[in-house]
Structures are given as structure tokens and as C-alpha cells.
Symmetry: D2
Subunit: 345 residues, 4 copies
């Protein structure tokens, strides 16, 4: 039984907490939130205790921590947990300031506890399915990848302003996904985007509609298109085109009902939001983390994966501003935890 302490009792914290309580191999011992009322409510519901401070958690006998607090607290909590030697499940992103991420990565290399960064889409069975088709050799060599990533509605302007922008906040999931799918780091990115959804997003210095092309050293290319708003729910779709065939992880419909009437067939559309579509991936990510904590040699998105996705985002932002293709510069600590070598679900 793995005893967890969890930081954060907001929307995503409630999901993680319930999963920890549900998983047969874990229990939720402590919750910490800067808003004690939120922590208390979730703790009562899940039978956990309240921690008065992070320090109380570092000093406790918990076996692992789950960081689901606001982004600006991640780096300090990661460093605290590393110091305390607690395995870490940390929501993405690590920090909006790439330099702070590097500092954390530098410290993480001295440790060998598992650190899972919350790129939960790696645990979606459809995405896993096309990855396996590529890895099995059935598709031949990867030549083109297409990722569609569109949210139904933009977040509040207030959030946009502190989010780091579309690439650090939304596209970052797919910067991770393309590395995981290709099994290779991209070397160059060309990004173009604009604010078509809401001029206020443009005034806030951000874009809401983007197209990107990334190149791999192998010659393979990846196109990503991102929008902050569709007229038809959540839209995520990935296509791997190889020398021998193509695998598609389709838009997932909400249901399987069709109405035949007049000249048309009307079928169930998309899920209303990313959460309804991706909800099952959180449990699977937690399960992978628990198995890693138990010592199983299982691959998962780790701290270096989190850092690399952010480095790609930085290059994409530079490209967006200069309208030029930008080489992606990776940064490597002497980080060498054995679990960082592979990134399989």
C-alpha cells in the first residue's frame, strides 16, 4: 500500500485524489492546499488528513507525493520532495520559467526517485495503439505525423495572461506527444499563429489559432494545428504516416447513435471537453507511477520529458515572433536516472 500526500485540492486535485483512493495499491494520507477549506472538503470526502505545511509532508512517512497545486508552486515542491526522497507525480508544466526547470532538473539528477510529469495523453489507448503500430514496424519508417489539438472554448483572459501562452499551455502536450510517438526529438520548428477566436487574446500578447511544422533529424516531419475554440466540442486526432502504411487515432465520438433522416445521417459528435475525453488517462498514469514506485521497470513521461517539451515550446514561441524556422536547443544535465531512458506507457 503506497501512502500518498497530495498538494492541491482544486479541479484536477479532486480527480487525482479520487484515483489514489480508488487504486487498490494506494491510499491518500495527507492533503495540502493553500486554501484550507478546499483541502478540508476533499480530505473529508476521501478520508485523508490535512497537512498544515509542505514540511509536515516531507517529515511524514508518506511513500510518494502528487503535485497538483498551481504551476508557480511546482518547482519548490519538486525540490522539497527530492530532498525528502519522495517519489513524485507532478502535473505539467514544471515551471513557466525554463531556467527554474533546469535548476530542478539539475537537482533531480542526484536523486533516483521516480518523477512522473503529467503528460497523461501518453496513456490514452488509442494513441498507444498507433504508437504500437509504428514500433511494431507495420508502418515502416515514420515520414509524416499530423496532430490536431483543438479545445472547445478558450480559457478566461485572466488565465491566458498567466498561462505562458498557447504553446506553453496547450500545445505542450503535443510537443511531448510527438517525441513519444516518433521516438525521436525534433530539431527545428516553424510556428505561425494569430488571434482569430478572440481579439482580447491577441491584445494579451497571445495567439489562439496556430499551425506548426517540426522536423526530425531522420527527415520525418510533424504538423500540429491548434485552436482554442471549436464549434463542435473537443477535437484531438493523430495520424502517423509511414513508408508502409498509416495509423490514425481518430476523433473519438461521444456515443454511437445515428439518426437517418432526409438527406443526412446525424451522429453523436465529439466530447464536450478535453476532460470528458481524457478522464480515464489519469487513472492509468497513476497506475504507471505506482508501479514505478514499486520498482517495476516501466516507462513514463519523466522530468527530462517535461523539460524537453518546454524547450520545444520556447523555440516555437521564438519562431512565432520572428516568422522564421528555429533550431531547437536541448539542454542536458548529467541527469541519468535509469527510468529516463525509455518513454513507454
Amino acid at each position: 500500500m503506497i501512502k500518498f500526500a497530495q498538494f492541491g485540492a482544486g479541479f484536477i486535485g479532486k480527480i487525482h485524489g479520487a484515483n489514489i483512493a480508488k487504486h487498490p495499491k494506494s491510499e491518500l494520507a495527507y492533503i495540502y492546499d493553500v486554501y484550507p477549506a478546499a483541502a478540508e472538503q476533499l480530505a473529508a470526502q476521501l478520508g485523508a488528513k490535512i497537512a498544515a505545511s509542505p514540511q509536515e509532508i516531507w517529515d511524514s512517512d508518506v511513500d510518494a507525493v502528487l503535485i497538483a497545486s498551481s504551476t508557480n508552486t511546482h518547482a519548490d515542491l519538486l525540490r522539497g520532495a527530492l530532498k525528502a526522497g519522495k517519489p513524485i507525480y507532478c502535473e505539467k508544466p514544471i515551471d513557466l520559467d525554463i531556467e527554474r526547470v533546469k535548476v530542478v532538473a539539475q537537482e533531480a539528477q542526484k536523486s533516483d526517485v521516480p518523477i512522473l510529469v503529467g503528460f497523461s495523453r501518453r496513456f490514452d489507448p488509442n494513441h498507444v495503439g498507433i504508437r504500437e503500430a509504428l514500433q511494431s514496424g507495420e508502418l515502416g519508417k515514420l515520414e509524416m505525423m499530423h496532430i490536431t489539438a483543438r479545445d472547445p472554448k478558450p480559457p478566461a483572459i485572466a488565465y491566458i495572461k498567466v498561462s505562458g501562452g498557447q504553446y506553453r499551455d496547450q500545445t505542450i502536450h503535443f510537443f511531448d506527444m510527438l517525441r513519444w510517438l516518433a521516438g525521436e526529438d525534433p530539431v527545428e520548428v516553424y510556428a505561425t499563429g494569430t488571434a482569430l477566436v478572440d481579439p482580447a487574446i491577441g491584445e494579451a500578447g497571445d495567439v489562439d489559432t496556430s499551425m506548426l511544422i517540426l522536423k526530425f533529424a531522420s527527415g520525418a516531419m510533424c504538423h500540429i494545428n491548434c485552436s482554442r475554440r471549436t464549434g463542435y466540442g473537443y477535437d484531438e486526432r493523430v495520424e502517423l504516416f509511414g513508408s508502409k502504411g498509416m495509423a490514425v487515432s481518430h476523433r473519438k465520438p461521444r456515443g454511437e447513435v445515428s439518426l437517418y433522416k432526409g438527406e443526412s445521417v446525424v451522429s453523436d459528435g465529439m466530447y464536450p471537453g478535453w476532460f470528458e475525453r481524457m478522464e480515464p488517462t489519469f487513472y492509468r498514469a497513476l497506475d504507471a507511477f505506482i508501479r514505478a514506485v514499486e520498482g517495476e521497470e516501466i516507462a513514463y513521461p519523466n522530468l527530462m520529458d517535461g523539460l524537453k517539451a518546454q524547450l520545444i515550446a520556447e523555440a516555437a514561441i521564438e519562431s512565432l515572433h520572428t516568422n522564421q524556422p528555429v533550431k531547437i536547443t536541448y539542454w542536458q544535465p548529467e541527469y541519468d536516472s535509469p527510468i529516463s531512458k525509455e518513454y513507454l506507457p
Copy 2:
């Protein structure tokens, strides 16, 4: 070059005539229609001559005849062509009076000219596809067959009254299809139906909405459902369920456009009518006939197939009226033309 004479210049006659003109191995020499104006118009368009009487055609040097005149003329024209030794492509049904069909079949056995009866659905590539899946052994042994056969709109009541009823007119295509797909004759039929679409159809002594179950000696079963009216265009669909798998010839959509909007996906619906859906099968049926006339050993729906489909229809009508399962009685002349042994497309 095979020289054709054609009887009938109505809707279906125009299709056949154009196909004869288009096929590189055939030409249309004569057209005969009881309405000379219709014959003249089509003849002018296709560069054919008018025949003043059927006799003129029997006496001519044409290599084959295509009978697309009204049903009540089929039997006499078939007998005339048989006497003249001309290969025959005859639209279905042979005759509404099963006894007249038997007389024709009796005479046909003395002849060895190819007689193709117009069950053109045997030439639809999708239906051929599922038949091949069954014949290849991929589906194992056939256990259940499902046929959906629904027209967008009922014909005029005047036509209903002379059509022979839903089973002799509409379902008959599928009585042929199930034999062709199963490679086996059904032995019993239970039919139930009513007039839900239009009470006038009921008053005319017919039904417009039917469900049937047919049994084969092998133990396999076939369900057919028929309607004279859908709210969504022409609907034909066939499913073969075997011991190892299932093959489906799907409803064929009119196009491949989808509109994602709000909570739904709206896609192109069905074809407006059976003709738009099945039009390409007529050319393929003609091609098969031409190859048979040229001596190729090719399978096609022949006179015995036409007779058998009508015998099944008679049994189904008896079942409809008695609400009892009815054994199907087949009738066999000493008919033994070599081409009658197989019914492959």
C-alpha cells in the same frame, strides 16, 4: 461485335440501350416498343433502327435480344426468342403467373442459348465482396443472413395493383440474392407484413412493410425486412454471419462529406433511390451477358434462378396470408443447360 435488338424504350429500356451502345463489344441494331414514338426517340438518340414487329426481329440477323418491355409481354417474347435461337437478357420478373413461367422454362430446356434474368444486384461490387468472403471460407459456415431492403417511396397505387404485390415485385430481388449468397435454396419461409405506409396499399390487397424468416436445410437462417418507404432515401444492406466472422455490405452513402457542428456530426445520407444506388450494376450485368454470348463460361442469374425466386415469393405470399411457416416447393423441368449449374457473377 454483338448486334442487339431491344424490346422496350421506357425508363429501364433507355438505360439498357445506352449501355449496349457504350459497350465496346455490342451495338444496338433494332428497337421495338408498342409506343412507336418512344421507340423512335431512343432509336434516333442511339443510332438504331425501328422494328415494326417482334417478328421482324426474330427474322433479322441480330445476335441477341434484350427484353425490357412490360412484364406481361416477357413470356411471349422469351418464347419467340427461344424459337429464333437468340440469346436473351430479360428483365425480371419472367411473368406474374407462375404457370406461364413454368411453360417458358419447359421450352427453354430444349434450347442452349444464354438467358440472363435481370437480377442486377448480383453485380454490385459490395455484395460480390461479402459473397467472396463467405466462399473463401473466411467466415466459416453461414449461420445467419440479414437483408434490409427499403425503397424511399411506394410506387403509385395503380402500379401496386398490377405489380403482383410487395413480394413478387420488391422482395423478389432478395429472394434471388439470398440463394446466390448462401449457395443454397431455402426450404421454408415465414412472412408477416401489413400496410403501415399507406392504407390504400392495404385496400389494394397488398402490404408495404414486411419481415420474413427463411430457413435453409443446412440450419442457416435468413431474415429479410422490406419497406416501401423510408424517411431517408434508399436503404439496402446485407450481412452474412458465419461461424468464424461476419461480412457486411453496408448502406452506401451518397457522398463522403461530414459537417461537425454543435453536438452532432452531419454526414451525407443515402442515395435518393434504388436506381442511383444500383445504376452501375446494369452495365456489369450486360457485360456478363455479352461474355456468355461470346461463349465464355461465366455464371449469371438464369431462367431457373428467375423461376426459383418466384416460387419463393409464392410461398411467402401463402405464409403472409395464413400466418404459418410454409415449405417452399421447387419445380424442375428437365432443363439442363450447362450455364444453369452455377450462379457466380
Copy 3:
């Protein structure tokens, strides 16, 4: 908080127990099983107590009971719970002996506690979707219904022998479903079936492959086809054909991955079994029951629904044996609980 006692700790009991524990408005207080070891294991896992006998449960303060024990115990437990005034969630069927079912129904009419019979498919969102399309008037008047119900693998012969046969065991779900979808009781049934899957099933006096046609007083018809074995996983599909359009609850695929290669597109197939496909319906059925226990006027499959489905099965069995259409005889106690009037999810 509704306190449950549960009878049965087998496969389906584990599902129900976990759902009771998971639902925010219920808790599992007692478990009873004739095999104490099974009860103990489940009780330990879910934090429940062991009941030494049903009587201990009747005497306890539990608010409701869930009967998931073997079929032959259902009738007695139902009568015990009715006597004790406990609301009842009972797995189907009520009893294989229709006379015993009538006795239970007779007693149930004196009570007004909610009794939910476990026809959980009524809670599947796709089936609910097509029912709403019909009830909204969008399809016009129902004319034809098609139900495909095929399990991947037959149960053990030992189970077949005590199951009551294909219609009482497998098809019964769909005898309920067709009433629920049509909003009308069928009046006649014609059933035909045979043992194509396994001769041992035939030797046990049962069939494994069946086709049925049921008629409603309105003139609408329903076709059901059932198999105990597919070569491709679990296959359930329902189609409602109305005077204005058609609604389809499609075969639900396991995932959304497609592989384009050579001449084919290979996509994710069906779920491996009914449970993987239908698992979420159990929680929804429990939720409906809890809401009914709390006094909400919510419709659900009740004891009369359970009885009627079994009466249809009896008529179908008679038809199977006589190869004749059989009128369905309904039996009515003076049962008149308010919740029996509607059967909405």
C-alpha cells in the same frame, strides 16, 4: 446515505458491491453469501460486515437490499425483503419457474417499495439515445425494430442446462428492451432456432442460434437475432425504423484506431464480451434505484417488467417447439405501485 445489504459475492456481486461503495449516496453494510469465504473476501475489500443469515438482514437497519445471488434464491429473497419492507434491486431473472414469479408479483402488489429488476441495458446511453429519438417524434411512428444480440462465446454446457435456455437466459434482456423501446407490449411471437454453434447445446435441449419476429398491436414488428458465439467479440445493435426516419444504436467498437495498409483499413473491433461493453450501465442502474429509494419519481425496470419479459420468453419457447406463431398471454396481479406505470431510465 442509503445502507445496503447485498446477497451474493460472485462475479456480478463484486461489481454491484463496488458500485454501492463508490456511489456518494450509498454504503454497503452487509454481505451474505452461501459461501462464507466469498462473502468475507468482498466484505473485507469494501469495508462491509458479514451477515450470518438472510434473517439477520431482514432484522437489520439497512435501507435497501441488492439481490445478486444465484437465480434459484431470488424468489425467496424477494419475498423476505418484501416482508421486511426493504426496497429491492434484484438481478434478472426473477425465477425460471414462471408460476413462482407470479407468486412473488402477487405479494409485491401489497407493497410499495421500489423493486428494480436488473435489465441494465435500459441504462446504456446509446440505447437511451435512440429511445429519445423515437419518443421525441423525430422518427414518426415506429414500424420496424431490429435487435442483434450475440455473445462471443457460449457458456459452459453445465450452465446451459440450468439456465432455462437461450430465450430465458440471453434473449430475455431484449424481450425487455423491445417493450421499453416501443413503449408497447408485443402480442405475438414467432421463434425459430437451432444448435449451430455446438451440438452439445442441442443435446442439452437448447438452441444457440435464433431468429424471432414479434408483432405489436400497432402493426409494428420487431426482429431479434441471437447467437451464443461470434468470431469477433460482443455484438449488440438496435435499430428503430419509423415513418419519418431511422435511429441506430451501433455496434460499439473497442477503440478508435485505424490502420491503412494495402487494400484495406483495419480498425478496432468489438469489445471482447458483454461485460466490458455494458459495465457502465450497472452504476447507472444503481443510481436510478437509489434515486427511487430516495423518493424521486424515476422510471426503471420493475417487477412487472421482469415478469412480462419472462412471459414473452415462455411464448417464444412454445413457438420454437411448435414452429407456429404464438400469442403472448400477459398476466396481471392487482399490482399497482405508482412506479410501475412508466419505464423511463
Copy 4:
């Protein structure tokens, strides 16, 4: 009856010739080909005469010409036909040398005969369907367009060398399509590509696998991906993403057969080549041309459309070589034929 003369009796010439013969409003009077044997064979088949020289055609009484000869002859034939005042259906491209195209365009402005350039995809019903969805306002304002354009097999290296390269030869169809769909000219293009399919294509100075992003002045963006080889047949797919919804012209499958077996559903894949997929568009394009010749105010791809598509290709090639986004420079003669103002099918 419109009398045609046709230049070219090769693969595409045979298609055009047969369509002219088939269309009820046209007849094929003359064929000219530099290989007299080819011209003779086609002329015999279609009942046309052989022209000894283009001049014979200019001097004849034909009402229109169809230019389906090799690319390097197009410009001269266009100029000849313009001089003779004959309406022109000309296969794309106009000429590989953009300066020669400008000269033709300059001369064309003095004339007012219809000139249709063979971008036949504008006549595909699926593509027309999504264009109508956009034009009707149902999609709102266009924000993103995605075009997938992949051939099953690369042409021979010998052809690659004279083709003008992937963008002038293959992608050019889609440079036209995006203008036609968007109703707006793109202003900038970023193109990246490489030879992944066959190193010999790279050695010939060309690419075979490309991704492009084009921007419109409205802020909308278009992604194109092109490959010279798939492992699964011909793949063309277009998606219009607007502020209110999305319309998709799907990959069109070859048929509608599905085989359910084991864990998969195997369905009919793509057409083997672009021609099998696009064949019906040629007749529709001819029909549009005939209607224009008859004076109907119908829109079609004209000479300026042909020129613009080539100017986009030139910019894309510059971008490919410099790895920089390139502004597209349009060139405008005083060309002002009324039919050039719109480009509707």
C-alpha cells in the same frame, strides 16, 4: 451540338475524347497527335477525323478545342486557338516556364472565349459539398484548412526530371483548390520537403514528401501535406475549420464492405490511384465547359486560376530552397474576361 477538335490521344486524351463522344451536346470532329498511330486509333474508336496539323484545326469549323497533348505544347496551342477564336479546355499546367504563361495570359486578355484549365478536382461532389458548407455561412469564417494529397506511387524518374518538381506537378492541384475553397488568394507560403520515398528523386533535384503552410490576408491558414507514395492507395482529404464548425471531405473508400473477425474490422481501403478516384470529375468539367461555350454564366477554373496556382508553386519552390517563408507575388495582365471574376463549379 458543339464540335470539338482534340490535341493529344494519350492516356488523358482517351478519357477526354470518350467524354466528348458521350456528352449529348458535343461531338468529336478531329484528333491531332504528333504520333499519328495514336490519333488514328482513338479517331477510329470514336468516329472522329484525323487532323494533319494544328493549322487544319484552326481553319476548320470546330466550335471548341481540347488540349490534352504534352505540357510543352500547351502554350503554342493556346495561342493558336486564341488567334482562331476557339474556346479552349486546356489540361494543366499551362507551361512550366512561368514567363511563357504570362505571355499567353497577356494574349488571352484580348479575347473573350472561355478558357477552362483542367483543375478537375473543383468538380468533385465531396469537395463541392464542403465549399458550399463554407459559402452558406454554416461554418462561420474560415480559420484553418487542411489538405492531404498523397499518390500511391511516384512517377518514373524520367518524368520527375521534366515535371517541374513535386510542387509544379502534384501540389499545384491543391494550390488551386485552396484558393477555390477559401475564396481568397494566399499571401505567403512556407514549404519544407525532402526525398524520403526514393533517393533518386532527391538526386534529380526534387522532393517527394512535403509539408506546407500558407497564410491568407484574412488570418486564415492552410496546411498541405504531399507524398508521392502511400502504402495504401490514393489519399486525398480536405478539412475546412471555421469559427462555427468544421466540414470534411473524407478519404473516399473503394467500397463499403466490412469484415468483422477476431479483434478487428477490416474494411475496403482507398482507390488504387488518383484516376480511379477522380475519374467522374472529368465529365463534369467538360459539362461545365460546354455550358460556358453555350453562353451560360458558369464559373470554372480559368487561365488566371491556372497562372495563379503556378505563381504559388514558384513561391513554394523558393521557400523550399531557402527554408524561409516567402511572400507570393501575383501578376495581373489587363485581362478582364467576365468569366474570370468568379471561380464556382
